[in-house]
């Protein structure tokens, strides 16, 4: 296996693992948000904004994985 092949494999694996872990975290957050909205429908707005911020913060880790795999593909592989 040459280095470019390793780079392609690892850039795919990076996004796969990042999306896997991130989606589990987001699933947990969304589940408890839905639960608390069902319990207290009057504070839906606040709960939703907090959830969106939290989801963005979780998502940013997945996006870091995407950025790293883009770097692997386009910077290391092209160079």
């Amino acid at each position: 296996m040459t280095l470019p092949m390793w780079i392609v494999i690892m850039s795919g694996l990076t996004v796969a693992l990042g999306a896997f872990a991130g989606s589990f975290g987001m699933a947990k957050a969304i589940a408890s948000t839905v639960e608390s909205i069902a319990r207290q429908p009057e504070s839906t707005g606040e709960i939703r904004t907090t959830m969106i911020i939290g989801l963005a913060l979780i998502e940013s880790l997945t996006i870091y994985c995407l950025v790293i795999s883009l770097i692997l593909l386009f910077v290391y592989n092209a160079g």
Binding site: I53, A56, Y64, L70
Partner: protein, 249 residues
Amino acid sequence: MNLPLPAVSGGSGSIIDPYLVLRPFFEHVLHKFHLTHDFIPVFYGMLLTLIIGTFCYFATRNIKDVPGPMQNLLEMIYLKLESFTVSMMGDAGKDWIFLIGSLFIYILGANLFGLVPQGESPTSNINQTVALALFTFFFIHYAGLKSQGLNYFKHFLGDVWWLAPLMLPIHIVGELARPLSLSMRLFGNIRGEDITLCILFFLAPLFVPLPMALFMAFTSFIQAMVFTMLTMSYISGALPHGEHGEEEH
């Protein structure tokens, strides 16, 4: 080994080249000034600013008590932004709405610009997002210094004085991580969207990218909202009596 990926901004030789008008024109202008095509997102940003500015100029040229359609739209946008800011920051948000609103409108327009034919998101280039995030970073400290004076630096030391040598590096690293995460999040999301859309167009040009494009309009909005929301929570963390901003990175 170069991958045969359809790069969104692959320069000449890209797959969608024959249909492009705007980008070759920008490249032509840049070559006249002996600049590389790295500056093309700047052109797209300038075009976007021109569109927004022209709209605002014509909407506010003669303001009436009974607003016309354009003024009505602008007033609606302003009121929505104001209620959004006030719901996040309290009444102190009214002082900073000029920044929050401008950031939101520019980022939303920039994200949606990738879905327009001939367009390309300025925010799908990392230089643009880093510029936005650095501006936000300096503005947060400006807001803190303006509202609290030199007392602002006290909160870097933490609450307990003998923990200050430990808390100071943590706070400084935390501050420096903010522009990094802001810029990387926006860049990665929008760039990922553009690449996905480009690959879908490459695979099935008719009707298949449409639901994805709709979803991308939604995520563009969410990303603009997240950027401004985080800016607001950082600013209200720097203000004196605001709630202590959560340490989000």
